[in-house]
């Protein structure tokens, strides 16, 4: 009998990237969660959030809905990124307390850490300075959820966890080039280049910056464990803790995709912060969790998913 079986659980954003994997992980635990989709409840409206709680009366809520995207999308629509993410989180947590929710688990933002925080990023330095300005409207909205969760624990004893993932990748990600992050963008680039027999593929930057890539199923499993084990108002990193350079990522992808062409590094293009890596000792200690999927097997599954999805997408063309 698992912790989740028979419990009333709600997943916001359950049709999205991380949310769909949280739903699958719950099903594997014998729990059929209620999946909230944006066309059923507009979570940026307090009245609809109240309706959601009245309709579903959950014991545990995973808040994985969010307006998300890469740097480009953050630059184009900063107001929407701020308002939608702030209101969803604020209303869900506030009314969750009112409606007797036992535990609130939310996906935080890795970019919410201070821009100049020492590496690897420790939970203790979450508030030590401002985040990178490019995505501040998004990441500060997410940061405020942490303050709110601490306030509600202090005043009402309301239990919540904010899980902060690194660079999450995997099946069901957004592969739309305008909105996507580095892994889906590169997967798409190399699968498409290999399929059309291109002799060259261009990659932005020098390949030297490092990121902390974590496979989405590992993140979902970590979020379930956080829901199960934590009481109080916690913030916990859920990432691999392994620094991988963009060059290493590209080399692994070239193998997985079987791309035979030449890679051209375009040094003139921006490449973001030089190093991003998370300290994962808290999750290991408190949850007994660590990322189990290596980059290579994770990429194999991601590439396979994109290939199938790409075939399906041909229908729309």
């Amino acid at each position: 009998m698992s912790y989740f079986s028979g419990k009333r659980v709600v997943v916001t954003g359950g049709g999205g990237f991380i949310g769909s994997h949280v739903v699958q992980a719950l099903r594997a635990e014998g729990c059929e969660p209620f999946v909230v989709r944006s066309h059923d409840y507009d979570l940026t409206r307090e009245s609809e959030v109240a309706l959601l709680y009245e309709d579903t009366r959950p014991e545990i809520l995973f808040h994985v809905a969010g307006l998300v995207g890469g740097i480009g999308a953050n630059k184009d629509r900063p107001a929407e990124f701020f308002y939608q993410n702030l209101t969803m989180g604020t209303f869900l947590l506030h009314l969750g307390q009112r409606f007797g929710l036992k535990k609130f688990v939310a996906a935080g933002a890795g970019c919410g850490y201070p821009q100049d925080a020492p590496m690897p990023l420790k939970e203790a330095s979450f508030w030590d300075g401002p985040p990178q300005p490019e995505s501040a409207p998004y990441s500060l909205a997410k940061r405020l959820l942490h303050i709110q969760s601490q306030a509600y624990y202090q005043q009402y004893g309301f239990n919540s966890v904010i899980t902060v993932p690194g660079n999450v990748y995997g099946p069901n990600d957004n592969f739309d080039l305008r909105a996507s992050h580095v892994v889906p963008a590169l997967v798409r680039k190399f699968v498409d280049a290999a399929a059309s027999g291109d002799e060259q593929a261009a990659v932005w930057g020098s390949g030297r910056p490092t990121r902390d890539f974590v496979y989405v199923e590992d993140v979902a499993r970590g979020m379930l464990l956080a829901a199960q084990r934590y009481e109080g108002a916690e913030l916990v990193n859920i990432s691999s803790g392994i620094e991988t350079s963009i060059r290493e990522l590209v080399e692994a992808l070239v193998e997985v995709v079987n791309f035979r062409g030449e890679i051209v590094w375009d040094d003139s293009q921006p490449e973001g912060q030089p190093v991003r890596c998370f300290d994962v000792s808290k999750a290991e200690r408190d949850l007994g969790w660590r990322a189990e999927t290596g980059l290579r097997p994770g990429l194999e599954k991601t590439v396979a998913w994109y290939r199938l999805n790409r075939a399906t997408a041909r229908l729309a063309v």
Partner: protein, 211 residues
């Protein structure tokens, strides 16, 4: 050299050549084989199916490999996997061959049964079999992903597939021998990869397979 000795030499030579081609396939096709297995696993876990087509010995391979997946190769109990050889329905094959032309016998079946998210595995040693090529074009049109097993000749099959596994040989028999060996490896990998998924998500997978 007497006749018996000559035949013995021939046996040694042919079997050795087969082993060498398979060894070279391991070196040059390893990544493509792994990618094909991952693709099939991804499709099956999402409720898709694998459809196989080919002619002659390749048709026999299609049936053989479909049977491995519907049944079981190694290890413990597992759900049946949705694999279908398009080479076995003599009524469909003769009707389509007679009424529409032999080049349509697989294409029409892909159009009838293929759904987005399915995978077509096409086997052609030359890479030029018209009915196989037409099946691949129909698959792409219908939103299916495709894997090709072929040789290293210039046939267009490799260009029509998402993943091409090209056995480095020009000898039809040696290519076919490598094909069935690679097919066995793919079935083995699919079974093992699904086994790993099932440990984590047994109920989910079983309900999908039976649903």
């Amino acid at each position: 050299m007497n006749d018996t000795e000559r035949w013995r030499q021939e046996i040694l030579s042919q079997l050795t050549e087969s082993a060498v081609v398979q060894r070279r396939s391991a070196e040059s096709c390893g990544e493509a084989i792994l990618a094909a297995a991952a693709l099939i696993v991804c499709s099956l876990t999402q409720g898709g199916k694998l459809m196989l087509c080919g002619n002659g010995g390749s048709a026999a391979d299609c049936q053989h490999l479909a049977a491995e997946l519907v049944g079981r190769m190694n290890g413990r109990q597992r759900p049946a996997l949705a694999a279908l050889a398009l080479t076995t329905d003599t009524s469909a094959l003769t009707a389509l061959g007679n009424d529409f032309g032999y080049e349509t016998v697989f294409q029409r079946q892909v159009e009838a049964r293929g759904r987005p998210g399915d995978v077509v595995l096409a086997i052609s040693t030359s890479g030029r079999s018209q009915n196989v090529l037409r099946a691949l074009t129909a698959a792409a049109r219908a939103g299916l992903a495709t894997v090709g097993l072929t040789g290293d000749g210039p046939g267009p099959l490799a260009d029509l597939t998402d993943i091409a596994i090209r056995v480095p040989s020009a000898n039809t028999q040696r290519i076919q021998e490598a094909h069935i060996a690679i097919g066995h490896v793919i079935c083995y990998l699919v079974e093992r990869m699904l086994g790993a998924e099932m440990e984590e998500e047994s109920e989910c997978l079983i309900s999908q397979a039976s649903g």
